[in-house]
């Protein structure tokens, strides 16, 4: 199933947005990122360590750092790069279709 997030050009590089499960019908909140490599990626929004929203995280290159304890995750693979988190984040596919971000849920 695919969910239309909105125009891709409204999410600038280095920024992220939160797609709530209640809007998308997905099983969880999802964070969509515009990484510094120019590509879009999506991960589960909740940090795998403690309650924190990765869409509020800091994007550096192709990683996002959790806003609370700086656990970092690779946006491409969801792999945890830095503790305190030790569990990888789930990834979602996101594509740009006719200028719109489409999230595969």
């Amino acid at each position: 199933m695919s969910y239309k997030v909105g125009p891709a050009d409204e999410l600038s590089e280095g920024e992220a947005l939160l797609v709530r499960a209640s809007e998308s019908g997905a099983s969880e909140d999802i964070a969509v990122f515009h990484a510094e490599d120019g590509n879009f990626y999506a991960l589960q929004d909740e940090c795998t360590h403690e309650v924190a929203s990765l869409s509020d995280g800091w994007i550096e290159g192709c990683e996002v750092e959790c806003p609370i304890h700086s656990s970092s995750f690779d946006l491409r693979t969801g792999k945890v790069q830095c503790m305190p988190a030790t569990v990888d984040a789930r990834t979602y596919k996101v594509a740009v279709v006719d200028g719109n971000l489409e999230l595969d849920i």
């Binding site: 280095g14 920024e15 509020d56 995280g57 800091w58 550096e60 750092e65 806003p67 609370i68 304890h69 700086s70 830095c82 503790m83 305190p84 030790t86």
Partner: protein, 381 residues
């Protein structure tokens, strides 16, 4: 067979084992720690909880032996593929007053769980006297208060942590304690008893006495090995001790020669990555701009960089006129540090700015409408 013996299973020691495993180290990895299963220390003063890094099965699954023991002597490795890594951390400083033995410390999971048990004992809230209002003292005061205790916080400074947060931020945060119902006294205790402390001639009854007056590097084993010690075990940039190139020291117990001792959680993890590179070869990430956090009274506090280099402070206030971010600039006007309350992405933005050597204008630093992303994404043109 190649081997790495890690003494101490705190964040530095455990992270080293994890780094070696993830890099495919082909040898024996052993962690010795009297406390057993490695756990993360920051939550102790924030929630009194023991949070293990990984489940117990992780060690067997990855071929890491975990030995519950105090190491008092060791053989210096004789072969070039045998390594000893001291990750012995710190021990709490002791008060130097009559009755000092009555004060507990909050340094280990056992300390935290004993304090938690006493706090839960009191039907109408226990009385707690906490001596020292640094990171641990302030966090435990906040936690004890939250658990219903009547808390008195004793500090010999009106702005504890000024050196790491900047004076304005330290003053603002210290003032928060009394706003949250904690009795704040300035001074030092002159005597302690089993259930009281005497501060400024006044006797304060308390079921819980905690001394949180700082820590010092744990160097007992390093001394036994005859290593050079001077405010920490002295190491080079690869974290090798000066006497034995196969003996490394990492984390809070170590100090890189001619540098001040780095005493934070993130720095300890970076040490582990550097040590892994020293042992296995390969490029190590350099230490990043220092960062730490603290949680108290529902506020998330962070500091980045080094306020000791700051000659000038620039304040950013929130809409209610309260201090939100304090920036430190050195005498050349370059951004070198910042401290913040609930700063969100600001810590990351400042980290990036300091790493890249870019300083926004004073107006931008002060202007709360310039968000962290706008501030941090600027580059030298």
């Amino acid at each position: 067979m190649p081997s790495v013996h890690i003494v101490g299973g705190g964040v530095a020691g455990f992270t080293l084992a994890r780094e070696l495993v993830s890099k495919g180290y082909a040898g024996n990895i052993k962690i010795s720690d009297p406390e057993g299963l490695p756990y993360d220390r920051p939550p102790l003063s924030k929630s009194l909880q023991r949070e293990y890094f990984v489940p117990p099965t992780w060690f067997a699954e990855h071929g890491v032996s975990l030995i519950e023991e105090i190491v008092t002597e060791l053989e210096i490795p004789s072969s070039p593929d045998e390594w000893v890594v001291l990750a012995t951390g710190t021990t709490p400083k002791k008060l130097q007053v009559p009755g000092a033995q009555h004060a507990r410390s909050l340094h280990t999971a056992a300390d935290a769980s004993a304090l938690s048990a006493t706090l839960e004992d009191g039907m109408f809230g226990q009385r707690a006297v906490i001596i020292g209002a640094g990171l641990v003292g302030a966090e435990f005061a906040s936690t004890a208060k939250m658990l219903g205790a009547q808390v008195t916080l004793v500090s010999n400074s009106s702005a504890p942590l000024s050196k790491v947060l900047g004076a304005e931020m330290a003053t603002a945060l210290h003032a928060e304690h009394s706003r949250h119902g904690i009795t704040v006294l300035s001074g030092t205790p002159t005597q302690l008893g089993p259930d009281y402390a005497v501060v400024d001639g006044e006797r304060i009854e308390a079921a819980i006495l905690v001394a949180a007056i700082g820590v010092e590097p744990e160097t007992t084993l390093a001394q036994a090995l005859g290593l050079e010690i001077n405010d920490g075990i002295i190491v080079d940039e690869q974290l090798r001790t000066t006497e034995h190139s196969q003996v490394l020291a990492i984390g809070d117990a170590a100090r890189i020669k001619d540098h001040s001792r780095a005493v934070h959680w993130e720095g300890a993890m970076e040490d582990a990555a550097i040590a892994a590179a020293t042992i296995m070869g390969g490029e190590a990430r350099k230490h990043s701009v220092p960062w730490f956090w603290s949680d108290r009274h529902d506020s998330h506090i962070e500091a980045v960089g080094d306020f000791s280099q700051a000659a000038q402070h620039v304040s950013r206030l929130n809409r209610r006129g309260q201090l939100q971010v304090l920036f430190g600039l050195n005498d050349a006007g370059k951004l070198v540090a910042a401290s913040m309350i609930d700063g969100g992405q600001m810590s990351k933005a400042v980290k990036r700015l300091i790493a890249r050597g870019y300083t926004p204008s004073i107006e931008e630093l002060q202007d709360s409408s310039v968000g962290p992303r706008d501030l941090g994404r600027q580059e030298q043109s």
